[in-house]
C-alpha cells in the first residue's frame, strides 16, 4: 500500500511524544528522557494505554511464521560460488546439506493444453526472476540434492524448463536462432569471450524455485515431458558454443514471450504446429519492429501503397542489419583497433607479400588497362593498399576487406570477381580463339554485343561466351576442367592436398564433374572453402575460414 508520508518518514514525526514513547519502550532513551516519559505515564492513563497498545502490537509480530532455510540452502549457496567449477573448489558444508528438500504440492495437476502450461511455467519463472542468465548456468553442474522422486537424469531439463517450455523441438529452436527472429538480439549475438553484459554470475534456479519447476515438470503430459527431455539431450549433444548460442536464443525468446500482452502470448502459445507458432512470432516481431520506428517514419510507411511499403520495410531492415554488423565488428575487434595492431594475415610479412601478389595476379591490379576490376574498384583497391602501407597497423584491415570482398562467394554479385584457373596454354579471351564454331555463333550482332566488353579478360570473356552460347549451341569446355589441365601449383594442390582430404562422397562428386567447365573448377573452389584450404591463385592465401571470420559479414545466413 502506498504510504503518503514515505517521502519524509524520517522527518520529525507528527506526534513527538509517540516517538519518545517508542524509543522508551525500545530502551533507547537516556536517563533524563526516560524519567520524563515515566512521569507522564504515571500521570496520564491515555498515555499508558497508548504504550500498552504500542507494545502489544509490536509483540504480535512474533506470530509471524519464521520458516528455517530449506535444508539444501547452504549447499546450493556454496554451489553458486564462482570457484565451484565442477565442485572441486566447493567448501564442505557444515551441518545440514544431506537432507532432501520437501516438495511442495504441484500447483495444478490437471492436464492442460500446451499453451496453458507453457504460459504457467513462463509466468512462474518470471516471478522467481530465475530466468536471467540461466543459459550460462546450464553449463554448470547441478550439485544440489534432488527432490525425492526426480531422476537425476531429469535435473538439467527441469532446471532449464523455463527455457524449454515454450519451444517445440530442436528444429524450432534453430528457426528461432535465425536473424529474422532472435538471432540478431544483442543478448544472443554477443561475443561469448567477452564478459556477459550483466557482469554477474549466472543464476541457477534455487531450492524452492527448483522444486516448483520439478513439480511443473511432473505435471506435464507424458509426451510433452519426453519432448522436453529430447530437446535437452539434443541441445547438450551439440558443441558447447552452439549449445550456449541456442540456449541464449531460448532465454531471449522466453523473456520476450513473458513481456507480451496476454492476447499476443496466447496467440503464440496456442498455435497448433511449430510452423504456425513461428508465423505468430514473426507477426508479433514485425509489428513490434514497426511500432518501434520513429513516428515520422511510421507515417511515411503507412502512406505508401501496400506493395511499396513491403519493399521499403525490407530495405529498412536490411540497412539496419548492416549497421548492426558494422557495430558488431567494431565491438569484436575493439582491442585490436584501439591498439592499432596489424590484423592477420598482414602481421606475417611472408603472408602479406603473398596476399598482395595474389591480388595483383588475380585482378591485374598493377595495370589499369588489363585489370579485371571496374575503375571504381581499381581505385578502391589502390587506395586501401596505399593507406595500409602508409598508416600500417589496423589500416591493413580495410585492405583485407577489399580483397575478401572481391573473392568471397558471400559478397553481392557486382562486387565479386569470380576466379577460375587458367589453362596451361593461352586462356580464351578473344572471339578469334573460338574457331569456326565460335565464329558462326558470334557472327550475329547480338552475340558479339553480349561478350564484347569482356574481350581480353579471363575468365570473364569465357564465362560470357559460355552463358550466351549455352542458349544456342555447345562450344565444349572453354577452360581447364581436369587437374592435368591446371597450371602448377594448382594441379599439385588439387591432387596432393584437396582430393586426399575429401570425404568419399565429396571426392565422388568432384570426379563426376571432370571435363565440365566451369562446373569442375567451381566445385574445386567450393570444396576447398568447405575444407578450409586455400586453392592457390583462386583464393587469398591463408585459411578461408579465418578470412571469413575476420573480413566477412559475420556469416549471416541468407546474406
Amino acid at each position: 500500500m502506498p504510504d503518503p508520508d514515505s517521502a519524509d518518514d524520517t522527518a520529525v514525526p507528527p506526534d513527538p511524544f509517540e516517538a519518545e514513547l517508542v524509543a522508551y519502550l525500545d530502551g533507547e532513551l537516556g536517563e533524563d528522557d526516560a524519567r520524563r516519559v515515566e512521569a507522564r505515564l504515571a500521570a496520564d492513563p491515555s498515555a499508558r494505554a497508548r504504550a500498552a497498545a504500542l507494545k502489544g502490537t509490536f509483540d504480535l509480530l512474533d506470530y509471524l511464521p519464521q520458516p528455517p532455510p530449506s535444508p539444501t540452502f547452504a549447499s546450493r549457496t556454496l554451489d553458486r560460488l564462482p570457484t565451484a567449477s565442477g565442485g572441486a573448489g566447493r567448501p564442505a558444508v557444515a551441518g545440514s546439506a544431506s537432507a532432501t528438500a520437501p516438495l511442495p504440492p504441484a500447483a495444478d495437476p490437471a492436464p492442460v493444453r500446451w499453451g496453458r502450461w507453457a504460459a504457467g511455467i513462463l509466468l512462474a519463472s518470471a516471478a522467481s526472476a530465475a530466468a536471467a542468465y540461466l543459459a550460462a548456468a546450464a553449463a554448470r553442474p547441478y550439485l544440489f540434492p534432488a527432490p525425492d522422486d526426480l531422476p537425476i537424469s531429469d535435473h538439467r531439463a527441469v532446471a532449464l524448463l523455463p527455457l524449454y517450455a515454450p519451444a517445440d523441438d530442436l528444429d524450432y529452436v534453430r528457426e528461432l536462432a535465425r536473424p529474422e527472429f532472435f538471432g540478431d538480439d544483442p543478448a544472443v549475438d554477443f561475443d561469448p569471450s567477452l564478459r556477459p553484459p550483466h557482469g554477474a554470475e549466472p543464476d541457477a534456479p534455487t531450492g524452492p524455485g527448483f522444486d516448483t519447476l520439478a513439480a511443473e515438470f511432473k505435471a506435464l503430459p507424458p509426451a510433452r515431458r519426453d519432448a522436453v527431455r529430447d530437446l535437452d539431450r539434443q541441445l547438450h549433444a551439440l558443441d558447447p558454443a552452439a549449445r550456449d548460442h541456442l540456449l541464449r536464443v531460448l532465454e531471449v525468446y522466453a523473456l520476450w514471450l513473458d513481456r507480451l500482452s496476454d492476447p499476443e502470448r496466447r496467440a503464440v502459445l496456442a498455435a497448433t504446429t511449430p510452423r504456425g507458432r513461428l508465423d505468430e512470432v514473426r507477426k508479433v516481431r514485425g509489428q513490434q519492429w514497426f511500432d518501434g520506428l520513429p513516428e515520422a517514419q511510421r507515417r511515411r510507411l503507412n502512406d505508401l501503397p501496400a506493395d511499396r511499403r513491403d519493399q521499403a520495410v525490407v530495405e529498412l531492415r536490411q540497412a539496419e542489419a548492416r549497421r548492426r554488423d558494422d557495430w558488431a565488428f567494431v565491438r569484436r575487434h575493439a582491442p585490436d583497433i584501439v591498439a592499432n595492431r596489424v590484423p592477420w594475415p598482414f602481421d606475417d610479412d611472408k603472408l602479406r607479400a603473398e596476399v598482395e601478389e595474389f591480388a595483383r595476379a588475380a585482378f591485374r591490379t598493377d595495370d589499369p588497362k588489363k585489370t579485371r576490376l571496374t575503375p571504381a574498384d581499381f581505385e578502391r583497391h589502390a587506395a586501401a593498399l596505399n593507406q595500409a602501407r602508409e598508416k600500417k597497423g589496423w589500416a591493413w584491415h580495410a585492405y583485407g576487406r577489399v580483397v575478401h570482398e572481391f573473392t568471397s562467394p558471400a559478397a553481392p554479385p557486382p562486387r565479386r570477381y569470380e576466379l577460375l584457373p587458367e589453362p596451361v596454354g593461352e586462356p580464351v579471351t578473344r572471339p578469334d580463339q573460338l574457331g569456326e564454331l565460335g565464329k558462326r555463333v558470334f557472327e550475329k550482332g547480338a552475340g558479339m554485343k553480349a561478350v564484347q566488353d569482356k574481350v581480353g579478360r579471363w575468365p570473364d570473356f569465357a564465362l560470357a561466351v559460355h552463358g550466351y552460347a549455352a542458349k544456342a549451341e555447345r562450344l565444349g569446355p572453354l577452360g581447364p576442367a581436369r587437374p592435368v589441365e591446371f597450371r602448377e601449383p594448382l594441379r599439385a594442390f588439387v591432387t596432393g592436398e584437396l582430393v586426399p582430404a575429401l570425404s568419399p562422397a565429396d571426392a565422388k562428386a568432384l570426379a563426376g564433374l571432370e571435363g565440365r567447365w566451369p562446373e569442375y573448377p567451381r566445385k574445386v573452389v567450393e570444396l576447398a572453402r568447405q575444407y578450409d584450404l586455400a586453392a592457390p591463385g583462386l583464393m587469398p592465401p591463408g585459411s578461408p575460414k579465418k578470412w571469413e571470420a575476420l573480413y566477412g559479414p559475420r556469416g549471416r545466413p541468407g546474406s
Binding site: M1, D3, A23, D62, R116, E201, P208
Partner: protein, 214 residues
Amino acid sequence: MATGQTSAVMALRDPDIRLMLRVRDDDPAAFAELVDRFQHRLVAVMHHLVGSPEEAEDLAQEVFLRVYRTRKKYTPRAKFSTWVFTIANNLALNALRDRKRRPALPLEVRDSGPLGTRPADGGESRDEPPAHHLQQQELAAVIRRALDGLNERQRVAIVLNKFEDMNYADIADVMGLSAKAVKSLLSRARGKLREALQGYVYMDAEPPPAAEDG
C-alpha cells in the same frame, strides 16, 4: 592485505569478523561456516521483508554471494552483522521497489488459468472487527498485511529492530541514516502497526509461539 591494528582489536571482539577475515584469505571452510552461521538470520529477515519463502532464499543467497564476491575488499570497520545486513538492506529494498514497479506474478496464477488474473486478494480488510476464533494462521496473515502496509524503509527498520534486536545506532548504520531519522522512522512504523493491529492484541490469551530456531 595486512590486517591493521584497529581491525585486529575488533576482530578479537567479534568472532564473525575473525571468520570473515578467513573468508577474505580464501580459507575454504570459512565461507561454509559463515553461511551456516548466518543463514537462519538472513533468510528469516528476508522472509519478513518480502513475505515469500522462495524469494527470501533467493535474496539471502544473493547476500552471501555478494559477501563472497567482495571478500577481497573487506576491511573490518563496523560490526560484521551490520555489514552483512547493509548488503541485505540494499538487496531487499531493490527487490521491493522492483516489485512495486512491476508486481510479481504469483505462482498460483495457474489456478485461475495461466493468463487469467489472480483472484482478488480476498479476506477481510484490516478495519474489520476481529473474529474471536481466528486461527493463528489467519492472525499471521493479518499481521503480514499490516507489515506490508508499511513502506519499504519502515518495514526494514521494524524487521531489524524486532527480529535482529538491533539498536537504533546499528539500524542507522545499516540503512545509511542518522539515529534520529531511525527514531522517527520507527515511531511512524509503530504508530501504523498500532492502528492496524490494536484490535487483535488481546484476542488470543495464549502467548505467541516461540520463534523457530533461528
